[in-house]
Symmetry: C2
Subunit: 155 residues, 2 copies
Amino acid sequence: MFSYKERFKYFLKERNLKYTPERKEIIEAIVKLQKHFDAEDIYQQLRRQESNVSLATVYRTIPLLVDSELIIETLHCRDKVLYERIYNKKHHDHLVCINCGRIIEFYNEEVEKLQDEICRKYQFLATEHRLGIKGYCKGCQDKLNIKINSAKEKK
Amino acid sequence: MFSYKERFKYFLKERNLKYTPERKEIIEAIVKLQKHFDAEDIYQQLRRQESNVSLATVYRTIPLLVDSELIIETLHCRDKVLYERIYNKKHHDHLVCINCGRIIEFYNEEVEKLQDEICRKYQFLATEHRLGIKGYCKGCQDKLNIKINSAKEKK
DNA sequence: ATATAATTGAGAATGATAATCAATTACACC
DNA sequence: GGTGTAATTGATTATCATTCTCAATTATAT
């Protein structure tokens, strides 16, 4: 199993692209980031590790990271695109609290199987799938005093 | 069962908001739009029906339409937010072709049940859920000569 | 070492959406 | 049916994430 850096290097070579110090530093930043992050988070992490890679380069590098399957676009949150690392990670889906922003990850084998079934039915070749459930986490339900079965009343 | 217009009127009254000619025209436009649409599509439809409602008002009205559960935000496509009507419509999910943009709608009872189960497990109160599968539709698979099991090679 | 295509940073451009504000208007109350 | 007031509107400007431009630089194949 290759490291993120090795995998990226290989991907770049495969496409006759260059492995630059900037790309190396971005990979190093990505690996340090936890959970979900956006372009600005990567940029901030670069600052933290004394790197001067520009935000433009961060934006330019993101599609390469996505294509090389090191990260994936997961959610849109407040007009921002959020990514997460996927290399050597198990696929999962998300529960997103619309009140506090908390993200709960889950994996359900049955859901995966059903998706395969659905794709077969429509002769669809899936490259990616995403199940996102939005609502209120337990904490916020209590805080807001929302009762089960009345989510629709609450805004 | 109320019409879109009646439902919206009622919603506005409930909140002490006004039922203006502009809002009436927007509702009329929404009802005429097929499938998925964005703010600009609503604006164009308004032009078609001789209405001069401004784009600003369209943007301002969208959250009201969402809150009143007449439309729902379905997908992000090329930096645009797409909506669709949901009042008196059955819930469904989407298969989105990343080559031609075609959207296939489907409904799967099992998936719905599993989602309820997952929410129960995490004590999560769902207000909305979305299952989006991206990939290649049959037509594009043929056109691009993509073989099943090699989606990952293709970009 | 050289050639060349890829890459970079800085800043300008884009484009969807949101905010501002003065003028207008719906509607609850009399 | 008038009145008062808070909501609404159009026009315009602002915002802000993301993309583009371009001249200068650099990685790498030969």
